[in-house]
């Protein structure tokens, strides 16, 4: 087992719960344990008040009305509810949905499910910088298009899609616009009205809140209707039955509040960390490629391909760092990241990628140590890489006939 604590650089996978968030949550596990749906006593009222405060905090980040916020168990459920809920409610009028190849698995898998149930789905390609081509989106609309689902910020490469332009196009074409904003809250400004967003998913644990809670924004004017997935006591305006987990709701609200309050300062700080890190890497290592656009990107994400060094082999050499690789070998599937492939990253380079995710609690000393460790490991592994040797001798590895296996 690990004897020393690893440096955490996997902020797109999850984030630590902010102590300020946890502190707000604790009373609702203890003395204020009431059921927010109990109408007959103070325990219930207190819990209800806390939940409604949280709902308002979430709404404020999105510039929405609190009545438009539905609590869910996380972004996966919010995405399922948005996609299946809208698809089924409007299925008599519209049966076509548009999404992208780089969405999170929970959107793609939900789309596959809808396809099996009679809906048509268009999976938009992305440009090599990870962004969609608005003209391609425009051409994908049909009179049957009821919903467009495009993520705000990609979880692997951190790129920010042009939400306002997509929203305007959807409004023009008469389709609903859903965005998975799990990675976006607290990182980019969001405004559901200015951006014409009809449905928006978010998650607690990606924004320094607790795991097990998320929310779906559902527009009231003009009213967006959804078929519920979970039936029961009719909580959350019938969209999502089940007793609300008061402490988690409170945590999500507080997490949203802090994330938005600190967004600008944090963006600046993380940009500095990122630039310093990139400078260190590039000054010591050749043939390192950034996957995804650098400018249209959240500051706490880097996805780098270290050519000629396989990702998992590299991860074994940087045991002091906790991060993810786009390489096949880290997953059971042995397939490299579908997101990187959608960006047109060749398979050999996809195998050499690391996702470096940093955030609120990452220090400059940690980033410096990470850069040093990576440089050391890449240098060592290149010395034992036949591909590096070939490249140094001027052999183009693409010109070699490889026996696939």
């Amino acid at each position: 087992m690990e004897t020393t604590r690893q440096i955490y650089l996997d902020y797109q996978a999850t984030t630590p719960c902010d102590p300020r968030v946890l502190e707000k949550m604790i009373p609702f596990f203890k003395e204020d344990f009431g059921n927010p749906h109990s109408r007959n006593h103070s325990y219930g009222w207190k819990a209800e008040e806390a939940v409604e405060t949280a709902r308002a905090q979430i709404a404020r980040v999105l510039k929405a009305d609190p009545r438009e916020i539905i609590f869910t168990s996380g972004a996966t459920e919010a995405n399922n509810l948005a996609l299946k809920g809208a698809a089924y409610f409007y299925r008599d009028q519209k049966t076509h949905l548009i999404t992208t190849l780089t969405e999170h698995k929970c959107v793609l898998d939900t789309c596959r499910y809808l396809e099996q149930n009679g809906f048509q789905i268009t999976y938009l390609p992305v440009l090599s910088n990870g962004l969609i081509d608005l003209e391609v989106l425009e051409r994908a609309f049909t009179p049957q298009t009821g919903l467009v689902s495009i993520m705000a910020v990609n979880n692997e490469v951190g790129v920010i899609q042009p939400l306002s332009e997509i929203g305007a196009l959807c409004r023009l074409k008469g389709a609903l616009f859903h965005t998975d904003a799990a990675q976006a809250v607290g990182k980019i400004p969001l405004d559901v009205n200015a951006m014409n967003i009809d449905l928006l998913s978010l998650s607690g644990h990606k924004i320094y809140g607790p795991k097990g809670v998320g929310a779906l924004y559902v527009r009231r004017k003009p009213r967006v209707r959804l078929e519920a997935l979970i039936h029961g006591g009719g909580q959350e305006r019938g969209f999502r039955s089940g007793t609300l987990p008061t402490p988690l709701c409170v945590g999500l609200g507080e997490a949203c509040f802090i994330a938005e309050q600190e967004r600008e300062g944090e963006t600046e700080r993380l940009n500095e960390l990122r630039n310093r890190f990139l400078e260190k890497i590039h000054s010591s290592l050749a043939d390192v490629y950034l996957n995804g656009d650098l400018e249209k990107r959240i500051p706490g994400n880097l996805n780098l391909s270290f050519a000629y060094v396989e990702g998992e082999g590299l991860m074994m050499g940087i045991k002091n760092l906790a991060l993810s690789s786009g390489s096949a070998c880290t997953s059971e599937s042995l397939e490299p990241s579908y997101v990187l492939r959608a960006l047109g990253v060749t398979e050999d380079l996809a195998h050499t990628s690391l996702r470096i995710g940093f955030g609120r609690f990452t220090t400059q000393a940690e980033m410096d140590e990470a850069a040093e460790s990576i440089i050391k490991a890449v240098t060592r592994l290149r010395e034992m890489s036949p591909l590096w040797e070939m490249a140094q001798m001027g052999v183009d590895i693409k010109s070699v006939t490889w026996a696939g296996h």
């Binding site: 060094v309 096949a328 070998c329 042995l334 398979e347 034992m384 036949p386 591909l387 590895i397 296996h405």
Partner: protein, 130 residues
């Protein structure tokens, strides 16, 4: 994924990393795998005139299991006759390093690399006799 001590040792202290002159008549080179698949092994052997492997070197692009498999193989090969080398099976490699099931292909690749290196050496001998 948790790895065995032997595997980690070979990853951290790989034996016989390097290259032999591929044009040398006594050197056989095997290059197997593909960058797109995430592993490429280059294995080279130097064979004495009486058919014994005097030296083995490797370079590997791949995960820790692939690096360890090729490192272990070079250790095995030194001092073996070509006949003995041909009989090395991937199971033996996988067992020694306690490869997890999803990494068995790394040992298969190492076995392929041995065969390819021996083949290359033998081709050279046949050609030189012509």
């Amino acid at each position: 994924m948790s790895y065995s001590k032997q595997l980690i040792d070979h990853y951290e202290n790989p034996r016989n990393v390097g290259s032999l002159d591929p044009k040398d008549m006594n050197v056989g080179t095997g290059l197997v795998g593909a960058p797109a698949c995430g592993d490429v092994m280059k294995l080279q052997i130097r064979v004495t005139d009486d058919g014994v492997i005097a030296d083995a070197k490797f370079k590997t692009f791949g995960c820790g299991s692939a690096i360890a498999s090729s490192s272990y193989v070079t250790e095995l090969l030194c001092g073996m006759t070509l006949t003995e080398a041909t009989s090395i099976k991937n199971n033996a490699i996988a067992q020694h390093l306690a490869l997890p099931p999803v990494k068995i292909h790394c040992s298969v690749l190492a076995e392929d690399a041995i065969k390819a290196a021996i083949q290359d050496y033998q081709n050279k001998q046949v050609e030189s006799q012509r």
